[in-house]
Subunit: 139 residues, 2 copies
């Protein structure tokens, strides 16, 4: 897709970690828990409107990311969602959850309170690990 631009709300809320399988990989700035977001390059706003090839790519990227989150970040559960009520640009939340985390057992959306920020070394370590493990092309 030509002329792809990240939605300003996503840019404000997230760090851009880089590119994963052609999707933007974002990390919510709230470091209370590992909240990643995949943004495919498309004008579609619903999962069911994605071209099948891009849908398959997004699914695989989300699955690989979810496995990495669960294993590497020692999470008990991964929450996966395409919501988009506030930000129409299609984006897939892939959120690592731990029993007893900042809003367990509620989902993060509308429940997670403001939390700490990531430090630069922590972001760099995540990027490095994701590059080795799932093929992130770091920003």
């Amino acid at each position: 897709m030509k002329d792809f631009a990240l939605h300003p709300r996503l840019r404000a809320d997230c760090h851009v970690l880089g590119s994963l399988a052609g999707c933007e990989l974002l990390l919510n700035r709230n470091a209370s828990l590992p909240w990643f977001i995949l943004v495919p390059h498309t004008a579609a706003t619903e999962l069911h409107d994605l071209e099948p090839e891009l849908r398959a790519v997004l699914d695989r990227a989300g699955d690989n990311l979810a496995r990495w989150i669960k294993d590497r970040l020692a999470c008990d559960k991964v929450n996966v969602a395409a919501i988009g009520n506030l930000v129409p640009q299609l984006h897939l939340h892939v959120v690592g959850r731990r029993i007893g985390d900042a809003c367990w057992p509620q989902p993060v959306w509308g429940h997670l309170r403001a939390g700490p920020a990531y430090g630069a070394p922590e972001l760099a370590a995540l990027q490095s690990d994701l590059t080795a493990a799932v093929g992130l092309v770091a920003a």
Copy 2:
């Protein structure tokens, strides 16, 4: 999968509409907005742990259901999510949203207040329409 049994919490919260592509199709009893749930027959608890064939079946069933929700129920957006923090049995939420509905723009999880119940004729009409449109095998 042998010996499939719906989780008691899902059974308590939802109407069982029938079977869609081998998944159970549920409808949350809260009729404030159209909140469907697909439950594949699997012991996996994460999307990324589903066998590829079953994952593809679930994706297609969810997509067909989402299209039907958006078109037939005149929704502005569809929210799709696999969360599972409270109910470990893998289930995919497919929720029709309308601007200004009972908890717009918040997601339903943890935000939707108690609402009216479906009447029997309304449930029968939904089942009939889903049977014709997406191949539901009504319960």
